[in-house]
């Protein structure tokens, strides 16, 4: 039930780029990436600001005898995981201890894939939140598809490290929801980077942020411009897709028939990238009937919506989501802060999941992102109380594999499967307990966070000399 992302072009490119990023380590698995190149117009401009992320070299890591939630529906007790060359090399019993490298004794501990948050604004709404640092919402026109969230990311946002301590290995940074078309999102590995390109997930497709409902009509209605109503919103989307289709056709015609090269238009490039399947739509949309309309618009203009975000009423259209292969990203229990968030049920994720649609947790919060395991646990409990048989081995995918699908990176991360990126969390206990903590977080096999070792806890520039000129923001051993 891969949703939304059947574009084999995207998947091929992802695998090819992921392979090259891992350098020469696994070249055998990386043949034949020539066909990955798009023919015709390059609307997504994947290489304009290319990923420069390279995982440090790391010795092999054997996590021995832990309880594994694989993300693929299995719970494996007393099982080993071997990380090697940045990949998950093996999952099984009694794996051989590598000659060099690291052994993590897993007795009593649980292991999950790295947590993936499909909806974050870290870096664009960094801490501390002051006027000059609020770079997430280009609130100047209903269509700002030309802006890219990555160009706002403050890589020194101390909140990245807090999310890492919560087990988050991959996250999508989205522009805010003021606009019908907010701009492009970017998928990052949760690693320190001097430039945002040092954090970019190799080969991950771009996302286009769209927004339904109250926000665009409030922001622009307040200025006396279109849209001021939900029907104005929809007119705005459709008008833009008409223009984008014309733009795409112009370029395709140029590539097929030659002639004068058309002028580039950044806004149209992003929208055309959606129409040709290179850019994924991430649509802030709360209400059931609005989601239904958005799926109709996608049919009218022949594109695919990847995921509805903040989908508080997804449970009302769970069958439609399944039928249209659209994912829903939801909170466990947020509600009531606005009218479109009023019809909340805690069983939302479970109902969408049981309807065979692709359901996931998401945060949209610098605090929530640190506790997505707890949020998933609450959603799982609500499903159990609704009478569904949902166990941790199943629910874990709501914070790992399903968000990976929504981002178009599930071929390479999101589950504990051989050959995938070694994005792995070792938990002190059952990750669905409030008392459990991420103890060790590996990204591409590198120990990026170790709760027991302050040397393996990243500190951004911001943390230095804060509160104590000669020290760091918190004293040694301070629990961030």
């Amino acid at each position: 039930m891969r949703p939304a992302l059947e574009s084999t072009k995207v998947v091929r490119r992802l695998l090819a780029t992921a392979c090259s990023a891992a350098m020469a380590l696994t070249l055998t698995a990386c043949g034949g990436d020539d066909e990955a190149k798009s023919k015709g117009a390059d609307f997504s401009r994947q290489d304009a600001f290319p990923s420069t992320y390279k995982a440090d070299e790391a010795g092999p890591v054997l996590i021995r005898g832990a309880t594994l939630l694989t993300g693929t529906g299995e719970q494996l007790n007393k099982t080993d995981v071997l990380l090697k060359d940045g990949k998950i090399a093996a999952v099984g019993e009694e794996l051989k201890v590598p000659k060099k490298g690291m052994v993590v004794e897993g007795a009593g501990k649980w292991v999950t894939p790295g947590i993936i948050d499909v909806h974050s604004h870290l870096g664009d709404y960094p801490a501390p939140a002051i006027e000059s640092s609020q770079d997430g919402n280009e609130m100047t026109a209903p269509n700002t598809a030309q802006v890219w969230a990555e160009h706002s990311v403050w890589t020194q946002d101390p909140q990245f490290a807090l999310a890492l301590a919560g087990g988050v290995t991959t996250l999508q940074i989205l522009p805010g929801s003021a606009n019908l078309f907010g701009g492009r999102g970017v998928t990052l590995k949760n690693v320190p980077g001097r430039s945002v390109q040092d954090m970019k997930f190799p080969g991950a497709p771009y996302g286009l942020k769209m927004a339904c409902g109250e926000n665009p009509k409030r922001v622009y209605g307040g200025k006396g411009t279109l849209p001021s109503t939900r029907m104005g919103n929809v007119a705005g989307y459709r008008q833009a897709w008409i223009s984008a289709a014309a733009y795409r056709d112009k370029w395709e015609s140029y590539h097929e028939n030659g002639g004068e090269e058309p002028e580039r238009d950044l806004q149209m490039e992003t929208l055309a990238g959606v129409l040709n399947g290179d850019i994924l739509v991430h649509n802030h949309c709360y209400r059931g009937e609005e989601m239904a309309i958005m799926m109709d618009i996608a049919k009218e203009f022949d594109f695919q919506i990847s995921t509805f975000h903040h989908a508080v009423e997804a449970y009302k259209v769970a069958d439609l989501l399944a039928e249209n292969k659209v994912c829903a990203a939801m909170w466990a229990d947020w509600w009531g802060f606005k009218h479109e968030a009023f019809d909340m049920t805690e069983a939302n994720i479970a109902i969408v999941d049981q309807a065979k649609a692709c359901a996931m947790i998401h945060s949209d919060s610098a605090i929530g992102i640190q506790h997505l395991n707890e949020e998933t646990a609450k959603a799982m409990l609500a499903g159990q109380r609704a009478g569904f048989h949902i166990e941790p081995r199943h629910a874990v995918a709501w914070m790992t594999l399903n968000p990976a699908r929504a981002l178009g990176v599930d071929e390479v991360t999101g589950s504990l499967e051989k050959g995938k990126m070694a994005d792995v969390v070792v938990w002190s206990g059952n990750p669905f307990s409030v008392y459990s903590k991420a103890e060790k977080v590996f990204i591409d096999g590198v120990l990026m966070y170790d709760r027991d070792n302050p040397e393996r806890q990243p500190h951004s520039d911001f943390e230095l000399g804060i509160l104590n000129a000669e020290g760091e923001r918190l004293p040694e051993g301070g629990q961030r």
Binding site: A127, P128, A129, I130, P158, Q159, L162, E214, Y315, K316, A318, D319, D333, W334, W335, G336, F337, K338, H339, F342, D343, M344, T345, E346, A347, I351, A355, S365, A366, I367, G368, Q370, H371, E374, A377, K378, M380, L381, A382, R385, A386, G387, F432, S433, V434, Y435, S436, K437, F462, I466, L467, R473, L474, G478, Q479, R480
Partner: protein, 431 residues
């Protein structure tokens, strides 16, 4: 309606394995058998104990009360009883939808300093937030106004979460004031101005108290504040009413301690993200704090020292710690103080102190009934499916004033309507 719904939820998810002799809401006596009972009182924690409720009060707590006759007997094996959760600072009954102005009664504009504002007449016991939080184990709450104009927000009151018209239990309970960054913004741009406004108001309230008759006759210098406001500040000066004031930065907290010392105020500090830095001073001044445990991000310059073990460090230093719901959740999810307490325990707060921080401490700080399970005390309690601070346990039974409450709310109603899609008559015809 409440009775039927209470049964419905029980039937749907087999929540309460009870021998139900009479309808829940009319039970006069209630016996819980063989549960782990966390009393937070003299009896400590009973690993397996019985608890008898009679006429709204706790009659007895003991390891074994035998086979007493009760209107409702509940098998508590494997389950945990605690006092009901008390929300220390909420807008329950004053708000419905955050972004819908017409549904919000918690803040006003254009008053001199706002200290006299008392929103208790605006309280709506039928708010959808009340049954939702009650189902999460909240039995009482302190409801406080907020402010978008002046640092004085006005008077708070306390409620029971029964949803009845007589829910208000303590009116004019507390005065809410903003200090720190937000207080500075409201006061005109500086903490210094905010401090001067508080200090000035208190000084004039004192002046007013000493010269009430002359002032009322108009034979006194003109004061900056209205009679109404000055009157409403009097209980602060006499120590009858606590001052609930927001502050996060360590230096801000110290300023407030000095102010409290000067005017002999009963201070409660809300926020206290950097409280751990001045924990000793808070403890020796006996000033309690209300903390948002989850708020560990340095997302404001006044919270640069925010950290996950703040509650643990404060408690260790001897400060009375009350845990609120996470800031991002607001009043709609006040019950999530339970998740906050769980996180505080994960980061070093002793377990029982975690339970205390969402129950007994809130009761003692605000002078409310409840918060402990002791013979003679009010029977506000929750039977949890397991560890009360764990995100995978839930309230199976919520009792207020000895009466089992309905756990049905919009969340469960919507869930049940959409749970099993049926063909034929549309969902609009389902209840």
């Amino acid at each position: 309606m409440g009775i039927k719904q209470a049964f419905k939820i029980g039937a749907v998810a087999s929540l309460v394995s009870a021998v139900v002799a009479v309808p829940l809401a009319t039970a006069q006596t209630l016996l819980i058998k063989d549960a782990k009972v966390i009393t937070l009182g003299d009896q400590g924690t009973l690993q397996m104990g019985d608890l008898l409720v009679k006429d709204g009060r706790i009659e007895q707590v003991a390891e074994d009360l035998g086979n007493l006759n009760a209107d409702l007997v509940i098998d508590g094996r494997g389950k945990v009883v605690t006092p009901g959760i008390i929300a220390p600072s909420s807008e329950l009954g004053l708000t419905e939808i955050g972004a819908a102005a017409s549904t919000n009664d918690s803040a006003i504009e254009d008053v001199s300093i706002g200290a006299g504002f008392n929103p208790s007449v605006a309280f709506n016991p039928h708010s959808t937030l009340i049954p939702f939080n009650r189902a999460g184990g909240v039995t009482r709450a302190v409801v406080v106004p907020s402010s978008q104009e002046k640092i004085f927000a006005g008077q708070g009151f306390a409620i029971k979460l029964t949803g009845e018209f007589d829910s208000i239990i303590n009116d004019a309970l507390v005065q809410k004031v903003y200090f720190g960054e937000y207080g500075a913004e409201l006061a005109g741009g500086s903490r210094a101005r905010a401090y001067a406004q508080i200090e000035g108001a208190l000084a004039q309230a004192k002046e007013y108290a000493d010269n009430r008759d002359a002032i009322r006759r108009g034979e006194w210098r003109e004061l900056d504040y209205s009679i109404d406001d000055l009157e409403s500040l009097q209980p602060l000066l006499t120590g009858e009413q606590p001052l609930l004031i927001t502050a996060n930065r360590a230096s801000d907290i110290l300023q407030l301690l000095a102010l409290a010392e000067q005017y002999k105020l009963k201070l409660i500090v809300e926020g206290a993200a950097e409280g751990w830095m001045v924990a000793e001073q808070l403890a020796s001044a006996r000033v309690p704090v209300i903390v948002d445990v989850m708020g560990n991000s340095p997302d404001a310059f006044e919270k640069l020292g925010a950290r996950m073990d703040n509650a643990a460090l404060l408690q260790k230093a001897g400060v009375t710690v009350v845990i609120s719901g996470p800031g991002y959740a607001g009043s709609h999810n006040s019950y999530l103080s339970r998740q906050g307490a769980g996180n505080a325990v994960a980061y070093g707060l002793p377990f029982e102190e975690g339970v205390r921080a969402i129950t007994a401490n809130a009761a003692s700080v605000f002078g409310l009934e409840g918060g402990v399970l002791a013979p003679g005390g009010v029977a506000d309690l929750v039977l949890w499916s397991g560890d009360p601070l764990e995100v995978t346990s839930y309230a199976e039974l919520v009792v207020i004033d000895g009466k089992p409450q309905s756990l049905v709310n919009r969340s469960t109603r919507l869930r049940d309507r959409y749970l099993h899609p049926q063909s034929g008559t549309g969902h609009g015809y389902k209840k």
